[in-house]
């Protein structure tokens, strides 16, 4: 593990670099030095001299930066949550979808949009995130209570419970879409995932949920390693297995819920990033999880910058990640199988 530890500062530097470069890209191109000047002046004092500088300052600080930070936080959050789910469920193919958490968030968001369509006018700016959040948490509680007969909450029980709940929820989402009739487009757009128009309050919300959860996850990373030896062994090595599992499930769910609530469904990040990094860096969660956070942030920010500033038309980010991530995943999955059989 010590050998690979250098990857963390490298990834962190890459992320910072990408944030600066991405902030400069867009309809108005701004050189990296000027981006840094604007950021420095906005951070030191809110007054900026000169009319052009003022306009650029608004573009950089009020329009681009929140979306860029949101992309990085959502990407990092989904990847680290995926890594935790994979390690907890002893399944390298698990992700935030496996336990139905994403479906729960999607159901909540669809319901919020439907209510608006039926003339119950709540401000969608916050009802969609809040409903998505509640949906994710309720789903996790349902999965917990379904698996509660199994005193050890084994990974098979949890995955099965997650699949059952997710199946019910996706039928529910289908029903909501049907009810929404001609306005179904709004729900579909949300389900496809997007980071368009993210603002500072949303960035703050996800930051203040993700950061403490991430710290909790890193605190228990070593226990999480040992849980992979099985519940009995972990218990006999002094790990409070049941408690640690619950804490980590809740932390990963909170992260997922906050990500999905502002961005919609963005697939594959939570699956691919930890999976790939585990192949490159090994399965030690003390390294894997922080590296997943940084790599997920880089990947989603890169993909979002691609669709925002480089492609002629903006494609929903969830569609883009699935279109790139899916085939790539097929490739590594296939190669791994070949490697096994040799």
């Amino acid at each position: 593990m010590r050998r690979n530890l250098a990857i963390l500062p490298v990834l962190f530097a890459l992320l910072l670099l990408l944030i600066v470069v991405a902030t400069g890209l867009g309809y108005i191109r701004i050189p990296a030095m000027q981006v840094l000047q604007i950021l420095a002046s906005r951070l030191v004092e809110s007054q900026v001299n000169g009319e052009l500088a003022d306009k650029l300052s608004v573009v950089v600080y009020d329009i681009r930066l929140p979306r860029i930070l949101a992309a990085a936080l959502v990407g990092g959050g989904l990847a680290v949550a995926g890594g935790v789910f994979q390690s907890l469920l002893l399944n390298p193919l698990a992700d935030p979808y496996t336990l139905g958490v994403s479906s729960g968030a999607a159901f909540g968001a669809s319901l919020a949009i439907l209510l608006t369509l039926f003339g119950i006018h709540l401000p969608t700016a916050w009802t969609v995130p809040v409903f998505a959040f509640i949906g994710a948490i309720l789903t996790l509680m349902a999965v917990f209570s379904l698996s509660s007969k199994d005193p050890r909450m084994s990974s098979n029980t949890l995955i099965l419970a997650g699949v059952i709940v997710a199946a019910i929820l996706s039928a529910g989402i289908g029903f909501i879409k049907y009810m929404a009739d001609e306005e179904v487009g709004i729900i579909i757009f949300w389900l496809m995932g997007s980071l368009v128009g993210k603002s500072w309050p949303e960035v703050q919300m996800i930051f203040f949920i993700t950061l403490p959860c991430l710290l909790v996850i890193l605190y228990y990373a070593r226990d999480l390693n040992i849980i992979a030896l099985g519940t009995k062994t972990a218990d006999s090595l002094g790990v409070e297995t049941l408690l640690v599992r619950k804490i980590l499930l809740v932390a990963a769910t909170l992260i997922t819920a906050s990500c999905v609530s502002i961005s919609g469904i963005i697939g594959f990040i939570g699956l691919i990033i930890p999976h790939l990094l585990r192949m490159l860096l090994g399965a030690d969660n003390r390294l894997l999880l922080p590296a997943s956070f940084l790599a997920g942030a880089i990947l989603l920010l890169g993909a979002d910058t691609l669709t925002r500033a480089l492609l002629p038309h903006e494609i929903p980010i969830g569609v883009l990640t699935a279109l790139i991530g899916g085939p790539f995943f097929c490739y590594i999955f296939r190669r791994r199988q070949l490697g096994r059989n040799l």
Binding site: M1, S87, L90, P92, P151, Y219, R222, N225, I226, I227, A228, L229, G230, K232, T233, D235, S236, L237, G238, V239, E240, R278, G282, A283, D284
Partner: protein
């Protein structure tokens, strides 16, 4: 010497059931420190469940189990992990950790959170790897090992835990003869020289007779008999517990009982 006399484990009228099926029924015994115990019994006689209760893995329903004079459930897990190591029957390991890292996990109860392993930790891990003949595998992913190699790695992990008591659930189930002896000899050596206590479930009666000091025999969730090997290992017991006919003779080399089965169909 007085320490030797005081029991390390005291199990008093313990019962356990999963739902309506009773797995353990009114079991009482006490174990002395510095002894090698073999836990025998047919499949489904409750051996694994008994080990679970002795590691406080299940909340107990009836009875009392005390370890070093204190109720086992009252220990915190980390403290207990510095006293009792367990090698479970299940060999699955979820991810492809290197062998060295898996054995190092045996030091988990001693290494403070966020601290690097100390020299002592590394030394104990390397000694355990060597003792189990898996030192050459130390950098290999544990998922790429054969069943027997993985078994030895997990026993090495428990040895690295360096506890006074070692519980093993069929530690030799998937091993060839040489590695079976390696494990049993390593355990025997630790009992004789370091004075640790070993409780192992064993299916091979000859193996149990040669290496154990005392035997505990379970039948249908009850403690059928317990005591020194020579007293317990009789053809009557094998008939009553395992429903198998066998002759017992004294092995001239080990001076231990030796089982010769009488196969019904030959």
């Amino acid at each position: 010497m007085i320490e030797q006399k005081s029991p390390i484990f005291e199990v008093h009228q313990c019962s356990f059931s999963y739902g309506t099926s009773t797995v353990l029924n009114d079991i009482s015994f006490s174990l002395q420190a510095g002894c090698f115990y073999g836990l025998l019994g047919p499949n489904g006689s409750g051996k694994t469940t008994l080990l679970d209760l002795m590691t406080a893995a299940h909340p107990r329903q009836f009875g009392r189990i005390s370890f070093l004079g204190r109720e086992i459930g009252s220990y915190n897990k980390r403290t207990l992990a510095q006293h009792i190591a367990l090698v479970p029957q299940d060999l699955t390991i979820g991810f492809d950790y290197p062998v060295f890292d898996v054995v190092l996990m045996g030091r988990h109860p001693y290494i403070p959170r966020f601290a690097m392993p100390s020299r002592t930790d590394i030394d104990l891990v390397e000694a355990a790897l060597a003792e189990m003949d898996v030192f050459h595998l130390r950098d290999r992913p544990v998922t790429h090992l054969s069943g027997g190699e993985r078994q030895r790695v997990l026993v090495a992990r428990a040895l690295a835990q360096n506890t006074g008591t070692l519980l093993l659930d069929e530690p030799t189930a998937s091993l060839d003869i040489r590695h079976t002896f390696d494990i049993m000899l390593a355990l025997r050596r630790r009992v004789s020289t370091a004075g640790i206590t070993v409780i192992a479930t064993i299916h091979d009666l000859d193996l149990a007779a040669v290496f154990c000091d005392e035997l505990l025999v379970l039948k249908e969730g009850r403690l059928y008999r317990s005591g020194a090997v020579q007293e317990v290992m009789t053809s009557d017991l094998i008939h009553d517990v395992f429903s198998t006919e066998a002759d017992i003779s004294l092995d001239a080399y080990h001076h231990k009982p030796r089982v010769r089965y009488r196969y019904a169909h030959s």
